[in-house]
């Protein structure tokens, strides 16, 4: 298989969003070091919304979120994250779906 570098920004660029500035619909709970599932989100989130910061904590930037719910399924019950729907009309707006 040919090696290819995937740029998620290029993929998300195709999508339509209405970002609810200043009101993120996902929040990561304060933590010292991330749980295995929270850390896994930095790889398995399909929009690459989760990143590890300089202090080794996981942060979320939900602007490119496609509202799939993968992070909710992995991390809501443990309390690692808070997950809500964006306000009505905001978030991803699929043209084709």
């Amino acid at each position: 298989m040919r090696a290819s570098v995937v740029r998620i920004e290029d993929k998300l660029y195709q999508n339509r969003y209405l970002v609810d500035a200043g009101r993120p619909h996902i929040k990561v709970r304060q933590h010292q070091s991330p749980s295995p599932n929270l850390l896994a989100l930095t790889v398995v989130c399909p929009a690459n919304c989760y990143q590890v910061n300089e202090d080794g904590q996981v942060e979320v930037t939900a602007d490119g979120c496609m509202e799939c719910g993968t992070c909710r399924v992995l991390c809501e019950e443990s309390g690692d994250i808070d997950w809500s729907y964006p306000r009505g009309g905001f978030g991803v707006l699929f043209k084709f779906g």
Binding site: M66, G88, G89
Partner: protein
């Protein structure tokens, strides 16, 4: 709370919600449907294949104006290793019939059409409105909803058609958040190509369509499936795997998708296409054993929110549609008898659903999720590789006597899985299929 009260509020405008709202409104109920997206379909993702039969039951003449892409004449099942696919193709002229059986659709367009039918039947549809919480009385009976834009609204019954991530039902304690092993994450791209290029690449004429469903090393040992569906002027291409397997193997979904696109069997089919959207969505995979409580005082749950998806046959939207229709019929029946929307009375929905193909089909495959999920490396890496080697061994002519070729193939299977392993895999698969 506003003074106005509805017979029913439907939360969500996907397949299940639209079917429920349409069914109730066309039977004369006063229905309000709430959708958080800008327009119906803007939050919905599907492959997507539409099964005509289930929609026909709801809207018999849908073919007259529904946005349908292609009617399917060919289905390809592929088992893939890194360089090959071994396929079983079924193509039949019988599918070129006056009322075709399956179509590809584009959900955002289809859902807008379905929603117009819902409005025409008399329901009020309010978009850009997120339901934040269910309104309940002192005894816990659901009496309406709270929204972020329209305040509180009362209804005799709330139909939860809120999709796989249904927050309302889990927050109200009606069901749990799906387990990572009971949902698959699918990522998908829309590849645009001229209509005639698609026709030529797949040997299609007019609005004929072809779909490919593929399993094997493309999922890197995770339980998963790749798909390629032909639309009129685009190809929907994606891959989905269990969320628990993604988390355990730390695979990137979009890297997986790009590797699938780059597979030598797929690459030429989408060459030169323009990508116009990248989507991600969860698919319920838990089957019969994951179906939650389906009704209660003043509420019912339908579609993906109720985990109604047949993972073996890749059928979700028709189960959603049918559960929505049946819930709508049950509610209309209770209403016509002038009975209250209590838990006891709403159990009619479940008894009607139990008799339908929805629960029947899911019960048939109740053991399949556990089998495929716990033996994923065998089913998604070992067997596809063995099969590919066997096929190559069979067709490659290199002077080796045929008897030796056959022995080599047999030995490869036994070496990889042992005699006992082969027999036990076959028996377990047969039992789960039964």
């Amino acid at each position: 709370m506003t003074e106005e009260k509805f017979d029913a509020i439907v939360v969500g405008a996907g397949m299940a919600g639209n079917a429920a709202a349409y069914t109730m409104a066309s039977r004369g109920l006063k229905v309000l449907q709430l959708e958080r997206g800008e327009y119906p379909g803007s939050k919905n993702v599907q492959g997507a294949i539409l099964y005509a039969n289930m929609l026909e039951t709801i809207i018999p003449d849908f073919r007259e104006d529904a946005p349908l892409e292609r009617h399917l004449v060919e289905q390809r099942f592929w088992l893939m290793d890194d360089t090959s696919h071994t396929g079983m193709h079924y193509r039949s002229d019988d599918f070129n019939e006056p009322t075709p059986n399956r179509y590809t659709i584009i959900r955002a367009q289809f859902d807008k059409w379905f929603s117009r039918k819902v409005r025409a039947a008399g329901a009020i549809v309010l978009c850009e409105t997120t339901v934040t919480e269910l309104a309940r009385d002192a005894r816990g009976k659901v009496i309406g909803v709270h929204t972020d834009r329209a305040g509180g609204i009362r209804a005799d019954v709330v139909v939860l058609a809120e999709g796989v991530n249904g927050l309302l039902g889990t927050r109200a304690g009606f069901r749990k958040v799906p387990k990572p092993e009971a949902v698959a994450l699918a990522v998908k791209e829309m590849h645009f190509l001229p209509e005639e290029v698609i026709a030529e690449r797949f040997g299609l004429t007019g609005d004929q369509g072809c779909v490919i469903e593929a399993a094997g090393t493309i999922s890197r040992g995770m339980a998963g499936l790749g798909f390629l569906y032909t639309n009129k002027e685009s190809i929907s291409l994606g891959i989905g795997c269990l969320v628990s397997h993604f988390a355990a193997s730390l695979e990137s979904p979009y890297a997986l998708l790009d590797a699938f696109k780059d597979h030598p069997s797929i690459r030429p089919l989408i060459a030169g296409s323009e990508i116009k959207e990248y989507a991600a969505h969860l698919i319920p995979e838990g089957g019969f054993k994951a179906i939650p409580q389906l009704f209660g005082d003043g509420w019912v749950v339908v579609g993906d929110a109720a985990q109604l998806n047949n993972a073996v046959h890749r059928e979700g939207s028709n189960l959603a549609m049918t559960s929505g229709r049946i819930a709508g019929e049950a509610i209309a029946t209770i209403k016509s008898r002038k009975r209250p929307m209590t838990r006891d009375n709403l159990s009619l929905y479940k008894s009607m659903l139990d008799k339908s193909f929805v629960v029947g089909d899911l019960r048939k495959y109740k053991d399949m999720p556990a089998l495929l999920h716990t033996n994923s490396r065998n089913f998604f890496i070992t067997y596809p590789r063995l099969l590919s080697q066997a096929a190559q061994n069979f067709v490659r002519v290199d002077g080796t006597p045929k008897i030796e070729k056959e022995r080599a193939t047999k030995a490869a299977f036994i070496k990889a899985r042992s005699r006992w392993g082969l027999i036990s895999d076959a028996v377990r698969l047969a039992l789960a299929w039964r």
